[in-house]
Symmetry: C2
Subunit: 316 residues, 2 copies
């Protein structure tokens, strides 16, 4: 197998983008264009188009027309991601999944098994884990005792997800769409944790929550609170805070800056998607997969265990 893998052969991975929406244009296409490990050879989308490559209406048409495709990056909404991933894996393609990796935990477990069986690389990407200060925060926390922690993710949905209808539909996750980014960081830097209590606020006219108030605990009882809010105007908060024996930690800006006792110890410009694509190339080259479901599992747990409250209707 190894010598047929593109990276081993020293030539770019022939990759296609599926789902040409906001995230593909904002992040995936620029990251691919800047990385010589890839050559973008096609795109498939119901609505969007990519200039300079063949465009198809569906992934099935694309895979049938262009057998030279080696990998696909799936950027469509999670509700329809499984079908595309399954088609790609069945056709022996390596698969990059935008977050969240699927609409259910079970379907991603299944994709994982399929990819293993087919010997292709599957990458459930969590872009926030590649924020610049995340590894420094992880190292800091590993060396101290955590007394409590708080995850605060408060942003303005009208600014970041204007008129994205899918996000309010069942399976679109609502405020957990950004919230799962917080969870992807928290599950990477904090000890193993799980939800003990949750309240999810649903706008009267929507099928997904606009806010959530969650209590986690770690195995040894350390309390971790999480506040998700999608109606935050003014300054936006994407912070993980921890009160520790080595001082008060604030990881802010979605993982961009780390401060201990008010002193910034790590800050650099973000390069999340470039790093994701570097990671994916490495997975393809080494024949590995990387599918950590902990963030999605917590979201499912929050929906299962959470109390629902109805709040004011939301209009974009």
């Amino acid at each position: 197998m190894a010598d047929t893998r593109p990276e081993t052969a020293g030539r770019p991975i022939r990759i296609a983008i599926v789902g040409v929406g906001k995230i593909a244009r904002d992040q995936h296409l620029p990251a691919l264009a800047a990385n010589p490990a890839y050559r973008l050879v096609a795109a498939a989308s119901h609505s969007g188009r990519v200039d300079g490559v063949p465009n198809f209406g569906t992934i099935e048409e694309m895979l049938a027309a262009m057998p030279e495709i080696e990998a696909v990056s799936l950027c469509m909404p999670p509700q329809v991601r499984y079908e595309a991933a399954r088609a790609a894996i069945a056709a022996n393609k390596h698969v990059f999944l935008e977050k969240p990796p699927g609409a259910t935990v079970s379907e991603v477990e299944h994709l994982k098994a399929l990819a293993t069986r087919k010997g292709v690389s599957l990458f459930a990407s969590w872009h926030s884990r590649y924020a610049p200060a995340v590894e420094a925060a992880r190292t800091f926390l590993a060396g101290t005792r955590i007394r409590s922690a708080a995850i605060n993710w408060k942003e303005d949905v009208r600014r970041w997800h204007p008129n994205q209808e899918w996000i309010w539909q069942p399976g679109g996750l609502g405020v957990f769409d950004p919230g799962i980014n917080a969870l992807s960081i928290a599950t990477h830097i904090l000890p193993e944790m799980f939800i003990t209590q949750a309240t999810l606020d649903f706008p009267a006219n929507r099928d997904a929550p606009v806010a959530a108030h969650i209590r986690f605990r770690t195995a040894d009882g350390t309390p971790i609170g999480m506040e998700l809010d999608w109606l935050q105007t003014g300054p936006q908060s994407w912070d993980v805070l921890a009160d520790t024996d080595a001082g008060s930690m604030v990881l802010s800006g979605g993982g961009a800056r780390l401060a201990i006792d008010g002193r910034t110890v790590h800050e650099e410009p973000e390069a999340e998607y470039p790093m994701l694509y570097r990671r994916f190339a490495e997975l393809v080259r080494t024949g590995k997969s990387d599918v950590d479901l902990a963030p999605l599992r917590h979201v499912a747990d929050a929906f299962m265990l959470g109390k629902r409250s109805t709040v004011a209707a939301f209009y974009d």
Copy 2:
């Protein structure tokens, strides 16, 4: 380790019951009394009592007072099961978990890891899997092609769960409390499947659903429908049906009877809890665990992906 395990030494396992409610009295205590592989030595419960053994208010008091306990069977509501399981595992006890094994998928994953670390046996029991005709159904389905399947679990909550308040609270799962029994059978006899669409009906005055309408599909696209209803009066339905190349299969009575094309091919009286305790003794004796989370994962997926609809208030 092996020679300290009670079964290897040929003497009964000293077991304690925690949570002395309806299920403990109806099922666990009779099953234990009838099985010479166990000796019931204590009970812990906020409210209930077991005659003839020392009774404690909490598991912590019980474990502290009676170090000779080797195993515990946890029969309290799922919302508080983790804490007790963790205390028991930390004290090197083997643990039998009533279904569902916890309030979140994540916490049970965590218990699994803890049990492995401690070298004790953890059993996430799914009693319906031990219904008499389940294995015959599994064998039948493994030898044919399934065109479609349906899971119908329709019972009268007032008859089976009278005034069980916890079941309507967040984490109590509502109609998924019996529905997870159906899922424990379905995930055992049908190919791997996952939810593509769900609607959950919540009574206006309750935090858990009274009905659910779910569509699954298998990896190769076979459709599986699931209907859960907790307001079924008259005849009760606990059926898994499959349309197959080898005929029409009906597994009814919660797994008690198997019929192919209308002809009963397997029927015997149920002995689910006796079989569960036989299985647990075997796990303890062989130093193994059995923790299949697929049924609980599907429930979490249904809550995450499901559309909520509000229906008439429910009063016991």
